[in-house]
């Protein structure tokens, strides 16, 4: 097994989805237990004997055998998937039915449907993401709670409620392709948030990387699936790959945030950027979505060999487009910042002050931080320091606070030098 391999996480989603298909949605917890058992067995055997040549097939064989044992043992006392139940009762049809459910094609289909089921519009976005991590990425409730800085008890309640919603949607695996396409925007949003959680959250580095990696894995399987083919999925992938490429330079050796201007661009992952470009090209066939625009902005940054070479006028145009598709004060702030870099700090300050509904940014630390950045460059040092102190008071975690603190002390040093 290679370091950083996601074999267990990847296969766990496929096994849980397939077992849920057979056992029925009301036996979701049972499917999770059986899958967990399969992985414990794999661990016991593989840790001494080594990983077999085809680990996926090994896992599926064990899962299938466990499923058949369980169906034989429990078929008189339990109801399984309604459309399969009669086939599972007879010994003649039991094994062929299970075999068919474990065919490669059926597994891929079940995993996709599971992803769409987790994104039930009846569930909050937080619950959707928690379910995805639990059912498709093999996270324990404790690990999901850890990723969201929540308590295991609160997370268990949330997941339990979400499981009930899933159990009520009996049509889980009967969704027509058309229904899937209707729910696609919700799935995109959930994967986008999962990735952002990994990219921005303050949980420890290892967890953050895992969240990003899982969002990327699911998004790319979504974009590869013909049944729900959409240029938006490719655009979402492009955005994730461009951002992931820059992840290594976003923090320094101590784990502190590094501003875009100060990042060591040699540490950006060229292979991920190339893959991002490939996704972006693939996304060009359909209509424009917010993910297309965000990916294009990320691409501009990736194309610049140095911060000073950034094509800011192009970024301004892209933020104009993003404002049309997803108007928000944060997008407006980013547009104003881009204008400041393109046409000078005075212009930046004017644009920031002109943002409509800027009261909605009252708790956003990077609003005063952006003001401070431009003020320091127009010689308004006193005002810049005041805004940075304001930003520090709004910081949402210690990482942001340390970042703003270092800016403040850099500013004080510059000032001392001038005076």
């Amino acid at each position: 097994m290679e370091p950083g391999d996601d074999l267990f996480r990847r296969e766990s989603g496929r096994i849980v989805a397939t077992l849920t298909r057979i056992f029925g949605t009301e036996n979701l917890a049972l499917a999770e237990d059986v899958a967990q058992d399969v992985f414990c067995r794999a661990l016991e055997v593989w840790k001494l004997r080594g990983v077999p040549a085809n680990p996926s097939a090994w896992l599926m064989t064990v899962a299938k055998r466990r499923a058949i044992d369980l169906l034989r043992r429990e078929r008189r006392v339990r109801k399984f998937a309604p459309d399969l139940d009669s086939l599972l009762v007879s010994e003649w049809t039991l094994t062929p039915t299970v075999n068919e459910a474990f065919s490669e094609e059926a597994i891929a289909d079940d995993e996709l449907r599971m992803m769409f089921s987790c994104c039930d519009p009846k569930l909050s976005e937080e619950s959707q993401i928690a379910l995805i991590l639990r059912l498709l990425c093999g996270f324990s409730t404790r690990e999901v709670a850890h990723a969201f800085l929540s308590t295991p008890v609160a997370m268990e309640k949330r997941i339990e409620r979400a499981r009930k919603v899933l159990a009520e949607s009996a049509a889980l695996f009967d969704l027509a392709d058309r229904d899937l396409c209707e729910r696609l925007p919700v799935v995109h949003r959930a994967l986008y948030l999962l990735f952002s959680e990994g990219y921005h959250a303050s949980s420890e580095a290892l967890v953050r990387r895992e969240l990003c990696r899982e969002a990327m894995r699911l998004a790319s399987s979504l974009s590869d699936n013909a049944a729900v083919a959409s240029s938006v999925s490719s655009a979402l992938c492009a955005l994730m790959w461009f951002d992931a490429a820059r992840l290594p330079s976003r923090t320094d050796a101590k784990g502190d945030l590094v501003a875009l201007a100060d990042q060591d661009r040699l540490r950006w992952d060229r292979a991920l950027i190339a893959k991002g470009r490939h996704f972006l090209e693939r996304s060009a066939t359909g209509g424009l979505s917010e993910y297309h625009v965000e990916a294009a902005i990320a691409a501009v940054h990736c194309n610049a060999a140095a911060f000073a070479e950034t094509d800011w006028p192009k970024i301004v145009r892209l933020y104009d487009a993003l404002l049309q598709l997803r108007p928000s004060p944060v997008v407006a702030l980013n547009r104003a910042i881009a204008l400041g870099y393109a046409f000078g700090p005075e212009r930046g300050l004017r644009e920031i002050h002109a943002i409509p509904h800027s009261d909605r940014l009252a708790h956003y630390p990077f609003y005063p931080a952006a003001l401070a950045d431009f003020e320091s460059r127009t010689g308004e040092g006193e005002s810049a320091r005041r805004h940075l102190r304001e930003a520090m008071a709004l910081a949402r975690n210690s990482k942001e606070r340390r970042f703003l603190e270092s800016r403040l002390s850099a500013l004080s040093i510059d000032q001392a030098y001038v005076e």
């Binding site: 967990q36 992985f39 001494l48």
Partner: protein, 111 residues
């Protein structure tokens, strides 16, 4: 060089496939390291927890587990080391120790 057997006893199961992945990685790293340094004679076998116990001159056959679960042997490995203290030192990195389990290091008796 002398031969020793590592008996892996107890240790909690991972809570999720994701955690299992991390535990697995640790075992691969630990055993891989011992192998590179030429200490592995035979990686050994995992043992199933379900077993039978035969006792009382064969009159009594009972289902396992026959010991407290924390004492159940889950597998073994055959290693080579300079002496018992080196063998014990090498066992110190075993991932089972992080999960409440233990490694029993026993010298193989020489002819």
């Amino acid at each position: 060089m002398s031969e020793f057997v590592y008996l892996y006893r107890g240790g909690s199961r991972p809570e999720s496939p994701n955690e299992g992945q991390q535990v697995m990685q640790k075992w691969v790293n630990w055993l891989g390291d011992l192998e590179r340094k030429g200490h592995i004679k035979d990686k050994g076998q995992p043992l199933d927890g379900q077993g039978k116990v035969v006792r009382d001159g064969g009159r009594a056959v009972t289902d396992g587990p026959y010991a407290e679960s924390k004492d159940i042997v889950g597998g073994y490995t055959l290693v080579e080391a300079k002496d018992l203290s080196q063998a014990a030192e090498l066992a110190n990195g075993c991932p089972i120790l992080e999960r409440g389990g233990l490694v029993e290091v026993r010298p193989v008796m020489e002819m």
